[in-house]
Amino acid sequence: MSKQPNILILGIGNLLWADEGFGVRAVEEFHRQYDTPDNVTLMDGGTQGIYLVQHVRDADVLIVFDAVDYGLPPGTMKRVEGEEVPKFMGAKKVSLHQTGFQEVLAMAEMMNDAPTHLLLIGVQPVELEDFGGGLRPETKAQVDPAIEMALEYLSGFGITAQKRETPLSQGSTIACPIMTTEHYENERPSEELACRSGDERLILDRNWQAPSDFEGEMDALLANVPGETG
């Protein structure tokens, strides 16, 4: 085989919008668990839009992790390949000056530099209206399967990512140490302290009230689950 292809694994989305952070969390977790050869780049693309064009142009193979509105049940993962990808990556609500990733791909193509191979691994988000929140369990559960999917795709190009004997600690991956899942979620201020009233339920319905004894209600619920004793 001639020159090794340049491979870019890109996580995109906004960490601050709950499941919108899926793409970034997936690429961070990929880095935590796997060691990749030199021709593979892992990148937290955030919502950088146009500023990502050069990285997309440099790639022969592009794998994108993202939260995608497929119109499927929440938490569903779906893979889309090649020419099908752009139509799933519209300009809707996209960041960086409303530059959709579709537009980033089109710009790369206009420069005659579009990646030859393209894979989108997307998850239908469960919750977005929770500014400052983390991934919902259903979305988080798709991180490992998404990584598996990327590994399988990579193997088609003869690339093997080595599973690390000991995964990296959260603070030593490509993630910003302050924004690691652990730090981000554990140090989140309480509902009461933060008065997170931007929640759609609160905004749209003035009569909505949080459960007064949430912990108690959860305990009561769990107590009734068969087989869950002790």
Binding site: L16, E20, D44, G46, V53, G90, A91
Partner: protein, 599 residues
Amino acid sequence: MATQQTPNGYTLDTGGKRIVVDPVTRIEGHMRCEVNVDENNIIRNAVSTGTMWRGLEVILKGRDPRDAWAFVQRICGVCTGTHALTSVRAVEDALNIDIPENANSIRNIMQLSLQVHDHLVHFYHLHALDWVNPVNALKADPKATSELQQKVSPHHPKSSPGYLRDVQTRIRKFVESGQLGPFKNGYWTNPAYLLPPEADLMAVTHYLEALDFQKEIMTVRTIFGGKDTHPNWLVGGVPCAINMDGDMAAGAPITMERLNYVRGVTQRCIDFCKNVYLPDILAIGGFYKGWLYGGGLSGTSVLAYGDIPDRANDYSAGNLMMPQGAIINGDLSRVHEVDVRDPEQIQEFVPHSWYKYDDDKAGLHPWDGVTEANYVHGPGLIGTKTNIKQLDENGKYSWIKAPRWRGHAMEVGPLARYVVGYAQGHEYWTDQINSVLSTLDVPVDALFSTLGRTAARGMEAVWAAEVQMYFLDKLVANIKNGDSSTANTTSFDPKTWPAEVKGVGFTEAPRGALGHWIRIKDTKIDNYQCVVPTTWNGSPRDNEGNIGAFEASLMNTKMEVPEEPVEILRTLHSFDPCLACSTHVMSEDGEELADVKVR
């Protein structure tokens, strides 16, 4: 027919046709705009709305103040660095932390590099298509384009007819394949487009060149920030070590080799801005100089906090290379002092914003700011809360608060900075302004327009690239004098902090004055308020009925075709709006054309 006089001098007429543009495309975040046009299609009433809840303040409560920069840099994709810088400055102000000279130089280099990058990308990739018609470029004669190019930018080497023909072929292929890509969603048959095909081809060629060139600019922030896409910042300085001997042991240190690389990029930024970007604005401006709409508040009420401290830790007006000051009532002979700490100067109002205060008529200084949602509409709302057909601007109608400077609605941004600088006699800027005015053969009033805003951004990009070089020289000289300090960590330990403190950080973001006000209590963030440039420019009406900068800028503009809001987009884009923090889930239909409704 109902007319209404605003205290800031506008006559609003809510009769005629109502035009709704939602969303306003090619901006950061979500924005909606409604205007009323009279029988001659002239805009007589304008309503601008931020349609997304921005709950930043509430996610920072209780967090470690030293971490705030990492959160604010994720608000959006464009202001990453400038929000981070503003945040660390606010914390340093609260805790009385002085930063080393090297850190000041490096921060200035990063901030100026962002200015250049943002201005360039904004002009070519988000705004140029409001003036330039890529479909029309296909009709151009490459040879005539080459002649035009050599006349407009004699120092730009890429001007051969063959090269321009290649670009044209590339664009044609793209358009004929049916995928207009970045050029889709345009109104390419609208008579508001005035350029001859050759000027269109030249501008589209530079669109592609700028797209290629901009990748270099990012490397500056990567070198000093240690990481591509999301650079690192540090309370007390900058997180990069200096090791001029080039030993890579300490992570990603600053070496002479890297500084030389930055010098090369900086020089190429100067060249591109001087030889391509600014000449393009002048060339395009020459064809549109009869289109002098969009001035809005720029000739009467402008505000700049100032930025780019020459010496470290001195944020007083005299030490800021980007000027600070306020102009009101159109009196350019008097520049007022601005104090971001003074509770009487900057206040935010919410009578027309979806928030509530104890007293909705009051204005609150950001240190005492309250962010509590109150999503209610006025009785004139047409539609429902979740499916709005037409807003009632007499009630609450935006997620943006209305900040005011001593009660005045103000414009911020490159043009506001240049007007303040011009009024103060900032030598470099005044020379630039005079040169642009004389090249275009227009009077100084022409500056107060949509194109004036666009031109100010181009002039500022040239200035910023040159000042970036100044700080690079300053950094190298200081290091050669034996000072390699980049961070002051003496107050980094929260145990050393007072129980309760407050601070403020301000910068001039590419799109205008940006401030973060912080209160720290028991080592955690107790209150955090950001007043961002688009809060100023995009503000709704206030308690007195003053309209904001976006709204004012649209007034009295003539629309060629009301169903095609080219003129609205042109003027709103000239502010480089950033309604930040937008979520970005992609939809299966893949298309989002601005929905324009005329009723």
